[in-house]
Symmetry: C2
Subunit: 214 residues, 2 copies
């Protein structure tokens, strides 16, 4: 049941996955993640990487194996994964695959306050979104095809990209429909909606809730 991970940043999972393969230094992790496109599915910043690495070391999931100096560049520390680290990696990975977790997206936040704009404007903005999503999904799809055949990679290594594309296409279809429904008054009377905005109009409230928090 996902009891408090000591190092919870998904980047830590990536670090352990890489060190599971072989020992390496942080900069090489970045290079490898980029080569493999993993930075598309796991948020990667240098500053976060170094603090995640420290945290993993502090928790005994990885250890510094040796430090090498190359010319007058900063010393690079090569890390390796520990037994505890391997276990933690596998446990975490299993959990991520098995248990759906609730995510809060920016778009959902926007939709929550849709009545804050008059219907005509909402429609225009969503139509613009549709155009952008069309472009984006088109690019994703062709990139996916290119990569797959150029490098002759089994789909196994690109499955997270297919997932991302699928989500975007689902969103695209949904927004297209939403636009039509709004225009057709399917979400509620357009004049009522408009009236929320007439002359300093208050946005109306509406009830219905349960659930706890904090």
């Amino acid at each position: 049941m996902a009891s408090k991970r000591k190092v919870a940043n998904p980047l830590a999972l990536a670090v352990m996955a890489l060190l599971y393969e072989r020992p390496m230094h942080p900069y090489e992790m970045v290079t490898l993640m980029r080569e493999r496109g993993k930075h598309e599915s796991v948020r990667l910043r240098y500053s976060s990487l170094y603090s995640v690495v420290s945290a993993l070391e502090r928790e005994g999931l990885i250890v510094a194996r040796e430090t090498v100096r190359d010319g007058r560049r900063p010393v690079r520390t090569i890390y390796e994964i520990t037994g505890a680290g391997r276990e933690e990696f596998l446990t975490w990975l299993r959990e991520l695959l098995r248990e759906p977790v609730k995510e809060y997206t920016q778009f959902a936040a926007g939709l929550s306050f849709l009545p804050g704009l008059p219907p005509e404007e909402a429609v225009a903005l969503l139509e613009e979104r549709v155009r952008r999503l069309e472009e984006e999904t088109g690019e994703m799809r062709s990139r996916l095809d290119t990569v797959a055949e150029q490098f002759n990679l089994p789909r196994l290594f690109l499955v997270e990209s297919e997932h991302e594309l699928m989500l975007r296409e689902a969103e695209l279809g949904w927004v297209r429909l939403l636009v039509k429904e709004i225009a057709a008054g399917g979400l509620g009377s357009l004049s009522e909606w408009r009236s929320l905005h007439s002359e300093r109009g208050q946005m109306r409230s509406a009830g219905g809730g349960e659930e706890k928090d904090v």
Copy 2:
């Protein structure tokens, strides 16, 4: 083009949306958000709320209007939105609706390291995920129907819940398919995949990447 928001937590958007309606104190914001189910689409913690409110005040997007004391309870500060706040709210909302943004989900992170488990285990975990998603989407759907008719709310006020449900159902369908494809060897040879795990096997690497970072 989304230039650095001074207060970027989506909870700030919610606060401004509520104060757009009428002045109120933080605790009332929590109450209202829960009644309206907005805490399902915007992550809401007391501790975050108070720091977001301070930040909004610091930036001149809201102002403290008066403080009232009720018995020996802590003083409650009633806030109202400023002109700058109204503008910021609308600008932000438009941006959220118009521009798709990349989100990093936990599941995508998990999928990225799918080769880290042998195929049989991957399938078992994903099947468990399917079961959980079935349950979850079932509950979401019936809750949505109940709320809509019980309170006689126009769909306009629940559109973010429909969005969430749609995403979950899309995921469900995709994972079902994925399971079948893995079993059929559609992601690549199962014996190759298995061999990554035989006797301290290395996970193989694979190239192909562009894009910049940090």
